[in-house]
């Protein structure tokens, strides 16, 4: 049973890390030789220590010789791979302890599956260097392949490093409501069409185009119906600016009929949806100016209740 496990792991190793060599004929030899040697190794037992057997080492050497490039490097890589594999294997193997002639079921019961750690997964993928047809292992010089291997070994951090400044940061871009949605008015196609339309005044070729133009000119309604269609400036203004106008009358006299009057005015304005915020401020300012002009008359009748404070005191 232990032999079968070992066999499987070694097969994985061979298939996974040397898949790129499957097509080339030269490397086939290497693979065959390696396979033979690994099979020999499988016949041997006792790999619980996690060390690599001598036969495996020799197999690795022969494979390295057959592959073009830096022999020492390939040897090192392969041995590293094997070490990691064998460690895993040894752990799982050690848990199996047969007393009498063990049945497969007994063995399966006691066995636990060891999970690969993250490091092992990473290294497994990295040894698989993607090559184009021209940039094949055979065509590459020794220096090139060494560089490739070195590059493959380094860890690439995708989201770290200096900003290239090609794109706007995500905070600047407006996030779409539905993920995957994009603003069609910012696409190149749309801009091109707009340019063409601006320069040439050709009439629309069909009713659909006519309706599109009318919709863009805001002559037709857009669906779903937006009650506030066309009110772009008002949309920027929050409701609090329309409703909470008490700050505007902070410099009016605190008590008296003038205060009472202007408070009623403000209440009426806060309920008015038809005036803009600037119009409301203008309305209040007119009253302020009017009452200041009439102060001599008001002072006689009201006294202190006609005085406006110089500095606006927020209530």
């Amino acid at each position: 049973m232990s032999i079968r496990i070992l066999n499987n792991y070694c097969r994985l190793l061979v298939a996974g890390s040397w898949r790129r060599l499957a097509t080339s004929s030269i490397c086939q030899k290497g693979k065959d030789s390696a396979d033979n040697k690994i099979n020999k190794k499988e016949r041997n037992e006792d790999n619980s220590k996690g060390e690599i057997e001598e036969e495996l080492k020799s197999a690795v050497k022969s494979v390295a010789k057959s592959i073009s490039g830096d022999e020492k490097q390939t040897e090192r890589d392969l041995l590293q791979q094997l070490l990691k594999q064998t460690k895993v294997v040894s752990h799982s193997v050690s848990e199996v302890k047969p007393t009498t002639t063990p049945t497969s079921r007994d063995l399966l019961v006691n066995m636990t599956v060891k999970r690969f750690t993250e490091d092992q997964f990473e290294n497994k993928g990295k040894s698989r260097i993607k090559t184009t047809r021209n940039n094949n292992e055979n065509n590459r010089s020794g220096q090139q392949s060494r560089l490739v291997r070195e590059g493959a070994r380094t860890k690439y951090e995708l989201f770290e490093g200096p900003d290239l400044g090609i794109f706007d940061p995500p905070s600047k871009q407006s996030a779409p409501a539905v993920p995957g949605e994009y603003d069609r008015t910012k696409t190149l196609r749309h801009k091109l069409e707009e340019e063409i339309r601006a320069k040439s005044s050709t009439p629309p070729s069909n009713a659909f185009q006519e309706m599109i133009r009318w919709t863009e000119d805001e002559k037709l309604w857009t669906f779903p119906i937006n009650n506030e269609a066309g009110m772009k400036e008002e949309a920027k203004v929050g409701f609090h600016e329309h409703v909470f106008l008490d700050d505007q009358i902070a410099d009016f006299p605190r008590k008296g009929p003038i205060r009472h009057f202007i408070e009623l005015v403000v209440v009426g304005l806060s309920k008015n949806p038809y005036l803009s915020v600037s119009a409301k401020h203008e309305h209040i300012n007119w009253f302020r100016q009017y009452f200041k002009e009439k102060e001599p008359v008001l002072r006689e009748t009201l006294g202190d209740a006609s005085k406006f404070s110089e500095t606006a005191q927020k209530v």
Binding site: P257, F261, K294
Partner: protein, 123 residues
């Protein structure tokens, strides 16, 4: 060639081949439009002064002053001086407010299917 020679003459001597159509059917219509423009200009101030006049909170001395101020404003700025007229014929009576035309013009337009959503009743 004759057109150029005629163009050199006094405007009164020129023969206009087309019917003269101005914006105003008659002087009454023109006066009403003038009042409307003036009202539009003065209405905000008029409304504010009236709000001072027509309340029981402010002192009467102030309200008397406001009375005088509004009296000093031009007479045509008052909204009560407006009188709606037919846009096409300047008719002062028999108006359909929604369409701003007199009943005769209204009927004419509807009969020739030039009014959206209107047709002769039949049930």
């Amino acid at each position: 060639m004759w057109q150029t020679i005629i163009g050199l003459l006094r405007p009164a001597a020129q023969i206009s081949s087309q019917q003269v159509r101005n914006r105003h059917w008659d002087a009454l219509m023109r006066r009403d439009l003038k009042r409307r423009a003036m009202m539009k200009e003065y209405y905000p101030e008029r409304q504010r002064i009236n709000s001072i006049r027509k309340n029981t909170i402010l002192p009467k001395e102030l309200q008397e002053i406001a009375d005088k101020e509004i009296h000093a404003m031009p007479r045509d700025s008052c909204p009560s001086r407006l009188h709606s007229r037919c846009v096409v014929t300047s008719r002062p009576r028999g108006l359909q407010d929604k369409w701003r035309v007199s009943r005769i013009v209204w009927r004419q337009l509807v009969d020739y299917n030039q009014m959206s959503g209107l047709k002769r009743a039949c049930w």
